[in-house]
Point group: C2
Chain length 414, copies 2
């Protein structure tokens, strides 16, 4: 079943806006078993829209158009599609009511261009948009479907999720897929593949699929199966198998946020967290505070960038730094233990490393990072090598420190 | 002069990779006076490539293809284009030498698929790629040009910058444009337009162009003129005019980084910086440490998320917090002054605010943020309202604090 995508909007072609709609729709429809044949991006121009639609519709079973449905003069998609499908614009009362209510709520005057958004092509099926003033539309030509959706990403996604997927599953009788994602941190793609090799073989033999989706510090594992009772159970079974095999790396499902996972564990225990950072310069604290509600478990942090502050604020002994260096197991342990006292917390993360580009030595090259996690059970420490890109090292150190804290909180052996 | 773009690669259609090549090429060619007619994304499939190229070439003066030039089996662009342009693959010795040297340097074995990258279409002009093993190619058909470039963004950009732009400027005799960008922080698009209204009118009357490019906390102002001696001088003249009109908001040119600008000012003065953060939770410190070399001017920071730490670490009086609250001019001043002492610095940023979603009151709604900048010249304080999105508030507070520090360091009146 072949799909064509058409994105309309000058802003996509002159470099003002990155086209993420194609990425999202492409992923969602691929997962449902459709093949994306092509994606065409064109200007807000009537003949470009008509020619583009002719070409793409010819090659595919249905087309999804996004963009050009706003209230301003350059948004011409609705008018052009009306002509293309030989119909006229008529007032759609439910849409007018909604647009009116929207402007009343936001206490702004409703202009003619806004109320005109309720004029919709007579022969189109109107697809409800709860998040904006331009509804989606479904047209039909020689049995082929053409969807027209707003270009604003969250409005487009909303209409896809509440209307389009169900309509497609009904019409094309596709066996819809079910997928879940296991989130991992701290293990590279090839090592991961090695650790779960037998599970992967087993799930593939059952007709399920496994995809590795890497990003800095993380690899997401997506398992896809049939969307029926048995299929969903098998997908979940293998998610569990993987999570149980490597609990030190798996921290949740489906876009789980490591900082939020850690926060929930701390809240459950009623315990407090702090951190003492050197090379990450506050990035770990910022990641923790990015979660709303973090004030209930996060006391604060110290960015002890200089050796003096490591001593004066968290009590790292001068002799320790002189003997072992600022980037050492001894220093990072004292930072974590000192941080527990200074910040008055039950758990303290400490990191010290060489983010680069300067400061590396043969024994401690750029990218060397020591991480410590202290609690009343003692200090865990480990050394890592995160490569020679400064910002990448900061990112990977942050993710790794949070995951190590998670393991300690969950009593997972490290 | 109409341009068509073709992006080849399954990964772009199944949601694995966001197509940023179209955004970059679109911006660059638009600035040079070309009109991007359309951008087609297709699968690694021979007939899709041929049909796509036929369609797009028909509508445009030249076509730029990206992707599908790698060494693996699914990279078929080169072979398909050879057939399309009725030519054969022949060994291109300079490319073979380069590929061989590349593998020797990185100490990896060179496979047949790698040396095959030196087989290039006989009638194509080879475009040098210094950053990878697949060179770009230029074909001609009925006087129309077709470029084929690697899909890896930095390799594509490199070939565009070192070969393609010059070839296009030669062939199409376009009057190439010259543009510079003034970076602003802390002023919204409409207020900005109001402040520079007369400058904008004047530059437009001279035939120059001005574009407002907003992102959270920032607006970039792009001024475009002719790329001749006079044109370049006029563009720079108006950049200066704008910078001089609103020095409290303009912090540099062409993608300047505010954190780096602040760092350079501190280095020049030989002075030290610290920061005491509440609602931003370490984000300001992280932004400063993101710049390499920051250890020469940044001592460290304190994330005093609780009232207790505001007292114990930076000496904010308990009575101050009880009387005025944690989010107040009085508290944030004491944080900044206390931070100077605790951190041993010449300048200290302090911020305290309500990032939300909880914690707002009628007098201090979510988004209220106090910022203080202390030095031996005293404390500057100001209150801001950054809206009700937690992460947006953290981002805008960070940018604003850095810009206020810049103004203090440059002795710009606030």
């Amino acid at each position: 079943m072949k799909v064509g995508l058409i994105s309309i909007g000058d802003e996509l072609l002159i470099g003002q806006t990155i086209n993420t709609n194609v990425t999202w729709i492409g992923e969602q429809l691929s997962l449902r078993g459709f093949q994306i044949d092509s994606a065409l991006t064109i200007r807000d121009d009537a003949s470009a829209i008509i020619e583009g639609l002719d070409t793409i519709l010819d090659r595919t079973n249905f087309v999804i158009i996004t963009g050009g449905l706003g209230p301003t003069k350059d948004d011409i998609t609705k008018r052009v599609l009306s002509e293309y499908f030989k119909t006229e614009l008529v007032l759609h009362q439910p849409t007018l009511d909604k647009v009116t209510a929207y402007f009343e709520r936001s206490n702004r005057p409703m202009l003619q261009v806004n109320s005109d958004q309720a004029l919709l092509p007579k022969n189109a099926e109107v697809l409800n948009n709860d998040l904006g003033t331009a509804p989606g539309m479904l047209f039909e030509k020689h049995g082929k479907w053409v969807f027209s959706l707003p270009g604003v990403p969250y409005e487009m996604k909303h209409i896809m999720e509440t209307s389009v997927f169900a309509l497609l599953e009904g019409k094309f009788k596709i066996k819809s897929s079910y997928y879940r994602t296991v989130m991992t941190q701290g293990i590279g793609e090839s090592f991961l593949a090695d650790r779960i090799q037998d599970i992967e073989t087993e799930l593939r033999n059952e007709g399920l699929e496994l995809a590795y989706l890497p990003s800095p510090g993380y690899v997401r594992l997506r398992i896809t199966g049939k969307n029926d009772e048995k299929g969903r159970a098998r997908v979940l079974h293998y998610c569990d198998e993987i999570s149980n095999r490597i609990p030190e790396y798996t921290f949740g499902m489906d876009g789980a946020n490591l900082s939020k996972v850690v926060g929930e564990l701390l809240m459950k225990k009623g315990e407090k967290l702090g951190c003492v950072e050197s090379c990450t310069g506050g990035r770990i604290a910022a990641e923790i505070v990015g979660i709303s509600g973090s004030s209930s478990y996060f006391n604060g942090g110290i960015v002890s960038y200089t050796n003096e502050l490591k001593n004066s604020l968290v009590g790292v002994k001068k002799l320790t730094i002189e003997t072992y260096g600022a980037v050492s197991e001894e220093t990072v342990s004292e930072m974590a233990l000192g941080g527990m006292k200074t910040l008055g917390v039950d758990h303290c993360i400490a990191v010290s490393g060489i983010a680069g580009p300067d400061g590396g030595t043969p024994e401690k090259p750029v990218g060397t990072v020591w991480i410590a996690i202290a609690s009343n059970k003692g200090v865990y420490t480990n050394k890592f090598h995160f490569g020679d890109e400064r910002l990448r090292t900061i990112e990977r150190t942050t993710a790794t420190a949070l995951n190590l804290l998670r393991c300690r909180l969950s009593e997972i052996n490290l």
